[in-house]
Every structure is written in C-alpha cells, then in structure tokens.
Symmetry: C2
Subunit: 98 residues, 2 copies
Amino acid sequence: MFRHVVMFKWADGVDADHVAAVADGLDNLAASIEQIKQYRHGPDVGLSDQNFDYVVVGDFDSSDDYVVYRDHPVHQEFIAELIAGRITERAAAQFEID
Amino acid sequence: MFRHVVMFKWADGVDADHVAAVADGLDNLAASIEQIKQYRHGPDVGLSDQNFDYVVVGDFDSSDDYVVYRDHPVHQEFIAELIAGRITERAAAQFEID
C-alpha cells in the first residue's frame, strides 16, 4: 500500500466555518475519487502549540493511484477553492507501507 | 481512534545507515510500547522535492494512550539518540479518527 500525508497551518482569517468546508470537501474527494482506499482527516487536537492545524492521511493501492488522485480535477478544484491562499505552511510526504 | 503524524527533514550528514537505524528504532518502539495499535513509517518516495524526508503515523485507542507513548522512556531515549540534532524541520499533528 501507499500512504500520502499532508498537514497545513491555516492563515489568519481562516475560521471554523472554513475548516468545516474543508472537512466536507475532503469527504467529497473520498467519495468522488475511486483511487482513494482510505481517507482520514481532521483538525489537530491541540496537545502541542507547535503542531500543524489540520492533517490528511490517504491510502492508495499504489503510487500510480496516488498520482491519479493528486492530479484529479476534483482534487485540484478543491485545492484551488479551499486551500490555496488559506495556509501559511504545508508539510507533505508519501511512503510505502506493508 | 486517535492518530499521531510526524514528519522530519534530515540534517546534512544523515546517511542511509542512520535512516535504517531510525527505521529499526521505530520498529522497536512499536514492539515495546503496548499503547501503539498500529505504527507505519518510512522514507518519502521522492515524488516532490518539497516533501519531508521521513514520516511516521501512529494509531492509538485514545489521546491518553498517545500521551503515554509520547512520554514513554523508550520513546524519549529513541528521540535523544536518533532524532535530536539530526533534523532541520519537524511537522506534527494529532487528530481523532472514526
């Protein structure tokens, strides 16, 4: 299996309504892109001040399936509408899992 | 369930042998700390130059179990011996999952 992890820090002005829209948008991605096998996401619970604000973990059968997701128009539209310009930091990695 | 995600960027001088020692050390944590329910980790596969270098995803029954892991002496020893001073960036978040 192949796992994609991404975290964001929100920009000033991103409020609870926007975070809820992001969460809904991510649920919509999981329902719309068949290559996603498992998709888990949520806000950081606040145990550490240094943490990022929101995290997404997606599981795929292969790196090829991940790339289909990454470049999928529904995903790109989600990023353009709800992420771009709304974050100050992004941290990402993809790795192979047993 | 409760998920912990952390990523690192390695400092100059961290070589493949060190990364292998980190991987072995993480496997040892998963075997040593009973609160860890699932532990997946690995090097970034290199699809993006902006990515972090190594990622760890740990699943726990609760935030309390995560805190036991976080503060566990075996975990703290691992960090002191193999992570501290060996990274230039760290990104972390913890979130609740269904």
